[in-house]
C-alpha cells in the first residue's frame, strides 16, 4: 500500500501547504509545469539531501525533514504539513491519477456499507486545499470526498471556482450524496467552468424505501431527486454510482430501466463492488454478494443500459470474475494506493487492465478465486 501520511519534523507553528521539488524549476511529474513555475515557485520546498533516516527539503517555511523516504520518491508531491502533529499528508501525489481531498468527515447519511464512517467534528481545511490545488500537476483530475462535501456547499463551490478560474487545465470529481442541491444553485452551476466538474452521486435502488434504508435516511430518495432536477437543469455532469449489496442486487435490472428511462442525463453509471472497510467490514458476510456466482442481475442491467445508450461501467470487478463479453466495461478502477493483486495474478495477461482487489479485501473470502487470463 502506498502511504498517504508521512512522519515529519518542521519548524513553523502552524500547518502549511508546500510542493516538494528536486531542483528549482525542476519540472517533476509526468508533465511539465509550463509557464506556471514562476508564480507558484514560492510554495515549493527544494531538496537538500537524503540521509539514513529519510530526506530533507527546505522552503519558505524552513526545513522539513521526512522519515523513511528518499527525496526523489516524493518529488512533485504537494503536502499539507502539520508540524505540531509531526505529520504531513500527501494531498496530491505526483503522477497519481487518484488524488483525493477529504474536505469533511461529517455526513447527513449513514450508509450501511460506508467505507469512511462519518464523524461529528469538522476541521475546516478548505484554504489549504485551495492552495494545494493551485499547485497540482497540469491536466490532473482532483477528487473531492468526505463525509459529505456539500454540507459546506458555498465554500466548496468557492474553492472549485477559484481553482478552475486560475487553472484552466484542471478538473474536479466530487463525491456527494446529492442531498443539498436545489434550484437556487442552477444559475451558479451553469457557469462554463462546471463543465470541468463531475459529481459522483449514489443511487441504490429505484424503490425509494430501499434506497432510504441503505443510506440510513428517511426521504433521501426524494431529496436526491430534487438535487437531480437542479443538476439536470444546470447541465451538470453526473456519474451515477450504485454499490452492490445483498439488499439491492436484485433491484439492479429494474434500476437499469429506471436509469435508461428517467436518468438519461447522467454521463455514466458506475456499478461498484463492495469495499471491505468501514461499516462493510463488520457486516461483510451480510452485505457482500459474490457476483461471479450469479452474474445475471448485473448482466441484465448492463444489457439494458447499453441498449439505451447509458454508459455503464463495473468498478472493482476483477476481470477474471466477469464474463468476457463485458471485460471492456471493467476498468482498473481501484486507486493505486489501495490496490492489490493476489500472487496468481502475476502471470495474468489482463493485469494492467484489471481492477485487482482492495488492499483490505479478505484473501480467504469468495472473490479471491482468481483465474489468471
Amino acid at each position: 500500500m502506498i502511504p498517504l501520511s508521512l512522519q515529519i519534523a518542521a519548524e513553523p507553528a502552524t500547518p502549511f501547504v508546500t510542493r516538494l521539488r528536486l531542483r528549482p524549476n525542476d519540472h517533476t511529474g509526468p508533465n511539465d509545469h509550463i509557464g506556471e513555475t514562476d508564480h507558484t515557485g514560492e510554495a515549493d520546498a527544494l531538496f537538500v539531501e537524503d540521509d539514513d533516516g529519510g530526506t530533507l527539503f527546505a522552503g519558505r517555511e524552513g526545513l522539513i525533514s521526512i522519515d523513511g523516504f528518499a527525496g526523489h520518491q516524493l518529488s512533485g508531491d504537494v503536502l499539507l504539513v502539520d508540524p505540531g502533529a509531526g505529520r504531513a499528508e500527501r494531498l496530491l501525489r505526483s503522477g497519481s491519477a487518484h488524488n483525493t481531498l477529504l474536505v469533511t468527515e461529517r455526513c447527513d447519511q449513514l450508509c450501511v456499507m460506508c467505507s469512511q464512517p462519518p464523524k461529528k467534528t469538522h476541521i475546516d481545511r478548505f484554504d489549504h486545499f485551495e492552495k494545494a490545488c493551485m499547485l497540482a500537476e497540469p491536466g490532473s483530475v482532483i477528487g473531492i470526498t468526505g463525509g459529505e462535501p456539500t454540507l459546506y456547499k458555498p465554500r466548496l463551490l468557492d474553492l472549485i471556482e477559484a481553482v478552475l478560474t486560475e487553472r484552466a487545465d484542471l478538473e474536479f470529481h466530487v463525491l456527494t450524496n446529492g442531498q443539498h442541491f436545489d434550484l437556487a444553485d442552477v444559475p451558479r452551476l451553469r457557469a462554463p467552468l462546471y463543465r470541468r466538474v463531475s459529481w459522483g452521486i449514489p443511487l441504490y435502488s429505484h424503490v425509494p424505501a430501499t434506497h432510504d434504508f441503505i443510506v440510513g435516511k428517511q426521504g433521501a430518495f426524494d431529496r436526491l431527486h430534487d438535487s437531480f432536477s437542479a443538476l439536470m437543469q444546470a447541465g451538470a455532469r453526473i456519474e451515477l454510482r450504485t454499490v452492490l449489496t445483498s439488499t439491492n442486487l436484485h433491484d439492479l435490472p429494474a434500476l437499469s430501466h429506471y436509469v435508461a428511462a428517467r436518468l438519461r442525463f447522467v454521463e455514466s453509471w458506475s456499478v461498484m463492488q463492495l469495499e471491505n472497510i468501514g461499516f462493510a467490514k463488520n457486516r461483510w458476510s451480510d452485505l457482500f454478494v459474490d457476483h461471479a456466482a450469479d452474474f445475471t442481475p448485473i448482466s441484465r442491467a448492463i444489457d439494458t443500459s447499453l441498449l439505451h445508450g447509458i454508459a455503464i461501467r463495473l468498478f472493482n470487478f476483477p476481470r477474471c470474475t466477469v464474463p468476457r463479453a463485458y471485460w471492456a466495461l471493467a476498468p482498473a478502477s481501484i486507486s493505486d494506493w489501495k490496490r492489490k493483486y493476489p500472487p496468481p495474478c502475476r502471470d495474468c495477461r489482463e493485469r494492467d487492465l484489471c481492477s485487482g482487489f482492495f488492499e483490505w479485501h479478505p484473501d480467504e473470502q469468495a472473490g479471491v478465486r482468481v483465474t489468471p487470463l
Partner: protein, 472 residues
C-alpha cells in the same frame, strides 16, 4: 389504485401484428395486449402496472419538478443535432473519367474545361474552413471524380491541420490510383467511399464497362492494403430489376465489406415522370428490401465470423434505442438545411444537400442557398428551415414513430415541388412508416437469429434478454 390518464404521458399507439405499440414523446415504448390497452383507456390499471409505467418513464406527475424535467430532457435528446457548421461536402471538380448510365448530369468530360474550382472558389472554400468555430471537421469530397485533382485534395486537407478531430471521406470510382492519390489515401484520417453495384455484371453494365477489371483490381489491392474500416462501398440498384440478394452479399463479402446501404436509383425529373407506376414499384422495392434484411439475418447466424448489416436499417434501429448515437443527416428532426453541413459545388454554388445539387443540375428545381463568396445565410435558407421539423405536422403529431423519424425538405421539394403536402401522402412518410414497422417486428421477435443480429447492429456486447418491453 388506478392511474388517471391525465398523469400517464400522452402516448401514441400503432397497431402491430402482436399487439399495440405505445410510444411516448421521448421515444420510450412498450408493446401491450388489447386487454391492457382497454384497462389504460378505462383508467383501470393495477398498482403493479402503474409502477411499471412509472419505472419506464411513462408517467409524470405535473407537480413534480424532477419528473417534468426528466421527461423534457428525454424529448430534447430526440431533437436537434444540427449545431455549428463542421461538415463540408466539396466538389473540387465535376469532371470524371467514367460515364455511368444514370449520371448524365452530374459529371463533365474528363478533358472539358471550366468544371474545376477556380482560384477564387478555392480561396472561398479555404476561407470557409478557416472561419469554422468548431474543433472538429468532416469533409467529404464528391464529384465528378475528386481524385482527378489530388492537388486540391491536398490543399484542403492541409488547411485542416488546426482541428483536433478531422475526418476526410473521398468518394471515388477507384478507376485510377496514382502514387499521388495513394499517398493521400494512406493518411489515417482519410476514408474511401466507392460504388459497387451489387454484382460484378451489374457494375460493369451500369458503370465501368471495359474498365471493370481495373476497378476490381484497385478495390482488392486497397482492401488488402488497409484492412476493414477504411473503405466503404454503396450499391446503386435498379429497383425495377434489383440484383440477386445473395449475389450482392457475396460480392461485398469478397472484399471484406460488411455494411451494405441498399439504395435504389433515384430517378430524377423526367425519368421519374416516365415511370407512372412508381407507387407499385415502391411496394416491390420494399418487399425486396425486407427479403434482403431477413437474408443477412440468416447469414449472420450461419456464419458468425463477420456481421453484415444494411446500413439504413441499423441507423433506424439505433435511433429507436439510442438517441444521438448516429449523426446521420438524412434522418433527424428537426433537419434544417445549411446549418451544420453544406455542399460547395465546382463553381462555388452552395447547396443544402448533395441531392439538391443533383436536382439543380438536372433542371428539376434550383435549390441553391448561396455561394461560397457571399455566404448562405440567405432568405431562401430561412424560408426552407421554417418547415424543417416534424414536430407540429398534424400527421406526425399523432404518429407513434415521430420521435424516431425525421424530415427531408429536399425530397419533398424534388418530388412535389412543395413542402406542405399532407405528410402521409409523401414518399418520405411511406418509406419511414414501412421501415419502422419493419424495425419493430424483429424487436419483439423471439428468434435467436434475429436477436443476435439486432444485438450486433446495436453494437451490444451480449444479447439482451429483452429488447422491447412487453405488457400483457
Amino acid at each position: 389504485m388506478t392511474v388517471s390518464c391525465r398523469t400517464a404521458q400522452p402516448m401514441k399507439v400503432r397497431a402491430l401484428d402482436e399487439g399495440s405499440l405505445f410510444v411516448n414523446d421521448t421515444g420510450r415504448f412498450f408493446l401491450a395486449s388489447d386487454a391492457f390497452a382497454q384497462r389504460l383507456h378505462d383508467d383501470a390499471l393495477s398498482q403493479a402496472e402503474t409502477d411499471e409505467l412509472r419505472l419506464q418513464g411513462n408517467i409524470i406527475d405535473p407537480d413534480d419538478d424532477f419528473s417534468l424535467h426528466s421527461h423534457a430532457y428525454g424529448i430534447a435528446e430526440r431533437l436537434g443535432g444540427a449545431n455549428s457548421l463542421d461538415y463540408l461536402i466539396l466538389v473540387p471538380t465535376l469532371r470524371c473519367n467514367l460515364d455511368c448510365s444514370y449520371c448524365q448530369v452530374s459529371r463533365a468530360g474528363v478533358n472539358q474545361r471550366g468544371f474545376d474550382w477556380s482560384d477564387e472558389t478555392l480561396g472561398g472554400v479555404l476561407r470557409s474552413i478557416d472561419e469554422l468555430a468548431t474543433d472538429s471537421i468532416k469533409i467529404e469530397f464528391q464529384g465528378g471524380e475528386p481524385t482527378l485533382r489530388p492537388d486540391l485534395l491536398r490543399t484542403i486537407i492541409e488547411r485542416c491541420e488546426r482541428f483536433a478531430h478531422k475526418q476526410f471521406v473521398i468518394c471515388t470510382n477507384l478507376q485510377n490510383l496514382s502514387a499521388d492519390v495513394l499517398s493521400i489515401f494512406d493518411r489515417d484520417d482519410v476514408y474511401i467511399s466507392t460504388s459497387l453495384d451489387g454484382s460484378i455484371a451489374m457494375h460493369r453494365m451500369q458503370r465501368t464497362g471495359p474498365l471493370t477489371d481495373a476497378f476490381l483490381d484497385n478495390l482488392s489491392s486497397l482492401t488488402a492494403r488497409y484492412g476493414p474500416g477504411k473503405i466503404s462501398a454503396l450499391p446503386t440498384l435498379d429497383p425495377r430489376a434489383p440484383a440477386d440478394i445473395d449475389e450482392i452479399i457475396d460480392t461485398f463479402s469478397a472484399f471484406g465489406l460488411t455494411s451494405i446501404f441498399l439504395r435504389p436509383i433515384n430517378f430524377q425529373g423526367f425519368a421519374r415522370k416516365r415511370h407512372k407506376q412508381s407507387r407499385e414499384q415502391d411496394e416491390g422495392w420494399r418487399s425486396y428490401y425486407e427479403r434482403f434484411v431477413r437474408r443477412i439475418i440468416e447469414r449472420n447466424w450461419l456464419d458468425k465470423s463477420s456481421v453484415l448489416e444494411e446500413s439504413y436499417f441499423s441507423i433506424c434501429l439505433r435511433r429507436v434505442f439510442q438517441p444521438g448515437a448516429d449523426r446521420h443527416v438524412d434522418l433527424r428532426n428537426p433537419n434544417p438545411v445549411g446549418v451544420d453541413y453544406v455542399v460547395i459545388d465546382y463553381d462555388g454554388t452552395v447547396y443544402p444537400t448533395d441531392e439538391a445539387r443533383m436536382l439543380a443540375r438536372s433542371g428539376v428545381i434550383d435549390l441553391s442557398i448561396g455561394d461560397v463568396q457571399t455566404g448562405w445565410n440567405t432568405p431562401e435558407r430561412l424560408a426552407l428551415n421554417e418547415a424543417s421539423t416534424n414536430q407540429f405536422d398534424p400527421s406526425c403529431t399523432v404518429c407513434a414513430y415521430q420521435p424516431f423519424c425525421g424530415r427531408d425538405l429536399i425530397d419533398d421539394l424534388a418530388r412535389y415541388g412543395r413542402v406542405d403536402i399532407e405528410r402521409t401522402e409523401t414518399e418520405f412518410c411511406r418509406k419511414h412508416l414501412h421501415i419502422f414497422d419493419f424495425v419493430f417486428e424483429p424487436i419483439y421477435s423471439q428468434d435467436p437469429a434475429v436477436r443476435y443480429s439486432l444485438a450486433m447492429w446495436l453494437r451490444l456486447p451480449a444479447i439482451p434478454e429483452q429488447l422491447g418491453v412487453r405488457i400483457s
